[in-house]
């Protein structure tokens, strides 16, 4: 009873301070809104009106129909019709077009044989365009029998990638994880260090409040905040990108709460090993980059080197991305993914224990 009372005393103090801190409070709402706009639109393959050059060597009604379909996606605007291969190359080289489409002369026969009949040429110096190529590859209009894609930069465009679903649908659920990861670690990384920097710690640790009460009390308010952010991101994702939630909302929140607890514990641990808020934020950022890059959020998990995959296993975001995509997109249940749930739980337990053990109610 007393245990709970002390823990809640810390939690309500933390909440009060948080609500009074305008900047932090702004970040709670601001970060998700900004990130979803940025990530949502930038990673979204619905890039609009890229200037394209078309070399139609078939000049048949089918080829004209294909070109029309491509233009209708609004991803590209047919800016140039090249008459020869030389003209096609020069247009791309001059940079007048970002993307080139080559329709081979024997289009009909190739389609009949199931051979590649269409080439999409992207500028390899602009990596973002590779995504576009991948996106185009997924367009249903091009998934006619035998219509395969190649690209001139020898970067593999995987026809299978994102085959049925639009990118935004994939990105937004994973974005829940990424945004939570960023904000939660930042919030708690400062939690203990801030008390130290402002000179409150000396008094705080001379009270009977225990290490466990202090740590859990500091986490609790942020779990609520994390769930508010989850709601915000999913709502924005639904409003802006029509991302559906196929699975159960309750399970989304349960999974999110577990992930939030795990990242908060990580932040708390950072807070106990650093001396200043500045150091804490530096370390927090260090943990964020691998999380974002290796969790399968930006790059497909399967394509990563073995070592990176191992590291990714240590990151809570990796497991959460799988959980949330499972629930939101496939309508899976938490109990369908016991391994991921267990890994998150383990991460939380280890980090919280480490924080409590690291932290001493002493100044030396």
């Amino acid at each position: 009873m007393k245990w709970l009372q002390r823990m809640l005393a810390v939690a309500s103090k933390e909440t009060r301070q948080l609500l009074r801190d305008r900047v932090t409070f702004g970040l709670i709402v601001g970060i998700p809104a900004m990130q979803i706009a940025l990530f949502g639109y930038a990673i979204n393959f619905d890039v609009r009106d890229l200037d394209a050059v078309v070399l139609d060597q078939a000049r048949s009604s089918l080829s004209r129909q294909l070109v029309g379909d491509l233009a209708a996606t609004q991803v590209m605007r047919i800016a140039w019709q090249a008459d020869s291969a030389d003209e096609f190359d020069q247009t791309l080289q001059r940079g007048d077009a970002n993307i080139g489409v080559v329709i081979l002369p024997d289009l009909e026969r190739r389609l009949a044989d199931g051979a590649a009949a269409l080439q999409i040429v992207v500028d390899g110096s602009q990596p973002s365009l590779e995504n576009v190529a991948q996106g185009l590859a997924a367009m249903p209009i091009l998934r006619r029998p035998g219509a395969a894609l190649q690209d001139a930069t020898s970067v593999a465009v995987r026809v299978e990638y994102n085959a049925e679903k639009r990118t935004a649908v994939q990105v937004v659920p994973a974005l829940v994880g990424t945004i939570l990861n960023i904000t939660m670690v930042i919030f708690t990384a400062g939690a203990i260090v801030r008390e130290r920097e402002r000179g409150n710690l000396e008094l705080l640790i001379t009270t009977p409040v225990s290490r466990g009460q202090l740590m859990t009390g500091k986490l609790l308010p942020y779990i609520v905040i994390g769930l508010i952010q989850t709601t915000l991101i999913l709502a924005l994702g639904h409003a802006l990108f029509s991302v559906p939630i196929v699975g159960s909302l309750a399970e989304v929140y349960a999974g999110a709460a577990l992930f939030i607890a795990a990242t908060l514990a990580l932040g708390l641990f950072i807070s106990t090993v650093t001396k200043t808020q500045f150091q804490a934020f530096q370390v927090a950022f260090m943990t964020m980059l691998p999380s974002i890059l290796m969790s399968g959020f930006v790059f497909p998990f399967d394509g990563m080197p073995r070592v990176a995959q191992w590291i990714a296993q240590l990151l809570p975001l990796t497991h959460f991305v799988e959980i949330i995509r499972g629930i939101v997109l496939r309508g899976a249940h938490l109990w369908d993914m016991p391994e991921q749930v267990a890994k998150l739980g383990l991460f939380f337990a280890v980090m919280l224990t480490a924080s409590v053990l690291r932290f001493h109610k002493r100044l030396d």
């Binding site: 007393k2 009372q5 103090k13 009060r16 402002r198 001379t206 009977p208 409040v209 100044l363």
Partner: protein, 313 residues
């Protein structure tokens, strides 16, 4: 009567700095015990070891019958600590700060309401109980900090330079409160670098370079001072000072307003004659007389003389 605090051979190093050096202390219960010493003399470090916040490098300290390090949690329940730097939360209101402290000390809701209301009244915090602590003046913060330290009615209060950054009137009021608390049975240990405050303590220890140089009741310390005090009034004080400096019988010289307090070897039977002899013909004096020592003299004698001894050794 048993001691509230007992320290034996208490020592603390920070790297090469010896912050507290083999301190022995016996702080009697239900009295005000003072730590007097210049900045860096080890007052805060000693108090922190009493709270179990720092681990002694050697020696030990027992607080209210418990070892301050190994039984820190037991000690902390019975202890009120006022840190040198204000350490309540600037972004919480006066009432919220008090309420939080009550809750971490495990007071029930009813007790909490009672105590917070009582302290707000007692320490004249009514006017600003809704204000954020960060917006209070030095004196108001200090009252808040003392109110917070006494919420759980601790047997022992450790106050680390509570009156620095506080105006004289607030300092007087503050000491009234301390005497009230002692009258109700508390033991108080207070560190200070103000002589007038040290004078009010029942007992005090003068600290210098981490060592307790003298210890006792202020009156007794003045009587027992290890030197005779001669007061010199003259036209050109700096000149007199120059003449006296370096004389073998002169232990130290301190200026008090328009007079010099000269500490002379205790063994000399007529110290004022000796001063007169030194100054005669070299400096125009007005009066030279032997006076009883003040606590300031005790402090100067203890710190300066020990310093000399240390240098000689």
């Amino acid at each position: 009567m048993t001691n509230a605090i007992t320290a034996r051979g208490l020592t603390r190093r920070f790297g090469s700095v010896l912050a507290v050096d083999r301190v022995d202390l016996d702080v009697p219960a239900q009295q005000i015990y003072g730590f007097l010493g210049p900045n860096g003399s080890g007052k805060s470090t000693t108090i922190r070891m009493m709270c179990g916040l720092l681990k002694p490098s050697a020696g030990s300290v027992t607080v209210l019958g418990h070892d301050a390090l190994t039984e820190a949690e037991t000690v902390r329940m019975k202890l009120g600590y006022m840190t040198q730097k204000f350490s309540l939360w600037d972004d919480l209101s006066v009432r919220e700060n008090l309420d939080f402290m009550c809750r971490v000390f495990g007071l029930t809701a009813t007790m909490r309401r009672e105590r917070v209301a009582a302290r707000i009244k007692e320490y004249q915090l009514d006017e600003f109980c809704g204000r954020l602590a960060g917006t209070l003046s030095g004196g108001q913060r200090q009252r808040l900090a003392l109110a917070a330290a006494t919420l759980h009615e601790p047997q022992l209060l450790l106050l680390d330079e509570p009156t620095s950054a506080v105006d004289p009137q607030s300092r007087r009021d503050f000491w009234e409160k301390l005497f009230d608390l002692v009258a109700r049975g508390s033991t108080i240990l207070v560190s200070t670098h103000y002589m007038d405050e040290a004078e009010r303590c029942h007992r005090l220890a003068i600290l210098d370079h981490g060592r307790v140089v003298v210890e006792g009741a202020p009156k007794q310390l003045a009587r027992d001072i290890d030197a005779s005090v001669v007061e010199v009034e003259c036209v050109d004080l700096p000149a007199a000072r120059r003449v006296l400096t370096g004389e073998p019988a002169v232990l130290s010289i301190a200026q008090l307003g328009s007079r010099l307090h000269v500490l002379i070897e205790r063994s000399l039977a007529e110290p004022e004659r000796e001063v007169e002899r030194i100054l005669r013909g070299r400096c125009e004096t007005v009066t030279i007389e032997r006076v009883t020592a003040t606590l300031e003299d005790v402090f100067v004698a203890a710190t300066a003389l020990r310093g000399d001894e240390a240098r000689a050794a």
